[in-house]
Subunit: 168 residues, 2 copies
């Protein structure tokens, strides 16, 4: 399966709960992401409790998909032992994408909701999940088995005008 | 092939030139990345000219891999028509990672060199490649066929202490 081509944002989910071993596979994929000087600045909070998922939505009204998601992975920055703080958001983006791609492979729908660098969103979510001071919320990933049978169809986004060769 | 597990930073390359159709596959993968409000804020400059690759190294002395790389993809932010400027660096990180993952699948070694948000590096590279004002250099990807036969071996980065379930 071409996970790069078939990954798409999925926002509508069935009630089927994601199996613990699949959740672990998603987290393992996140931790295989590249990071600046291999600093691995991540921490992952897995939420499957329905009440808490609804509270994520209440804190993040743009994130309606959490009313249907059966799980969330909250990707956090761990600020202890950073070797290259400026690059940490890029490392965390890579970890987030690896999780989306593995989810696609496992037939799990996913949607990346940006949080960082919006300090209001970061703060309200940090309070909700009672994260210790060393962490900052970077992104939210909504997860669940897709409602739509064609959730993973390929939509070609190739645009040759976005390429230059050798020089501008 | 499990591209998530076998992608690694590769910094030592053979002289074998990367075929144009493989370069296009890498660019297609970059453009399949998720982006905030689907803004697709990217532009890609492909460099295969040896002299220019060496100049990238001269501008970026931390990037010694460009002395051996047979190609570079320079990932740029196109600042026109951004719908969510704050999230654009995350979109560009996703595009960069998709290129690394597709490269792994094609047997091509790759290394992500962060440029943004270091304004000095961004400025000197922008001058080098003569990028019009609307663009900013986001990252450099060194590419080439790996020197080492085991360049793609799996190194398990799983760390269960980086996971929390339901609450901190």
């Amino acid at each position: 399966m071409d996970i790069i081509n078939y990954r798409r944002s999925v926002r509508s989910f069935t009630d089927q709960v994601i199996e613990p071993e699949k959740i672990e596979q998603l987290l393992r994929a996140g931790m295989q992401a590249p990071s600046a000087r291999n600093q691995q600045p991540w921490h992952f909070l897995v939420v499957q409790n329905r009440e808490q998922l609804l509270k994520i939505y209440e804190t993040s009204p743009y994130a309606r998909m959490f009313t249907e998601a059966t799980a969330a992975i909250i990707v956090l920055m761990d600020k202890t032992n950073l070797k290259n703080e400026l690059m940490a958001p890029q490392d965390l983006s890579a970890a987030t994408l690896n999780i989306l791609l593995r989810a696609t492979e496992l037939g799990i729908g996913s949607c990346w909701c940006g949080v960082f660098p919006n300090s209001e969103r970061m703060a309200s979510l940090k309070v909700l999940i009672k994260a210790p001071d060393q962490y900052e919320v970077f992104s939210l990933i909504a997860l669940g088995y897709p409602q739509d049978a064609d959730a993973f169809r390929f939509v070609d986004r190739f645009d040759p005008t976005k390429i230059s060769y050798e020089e501008f």
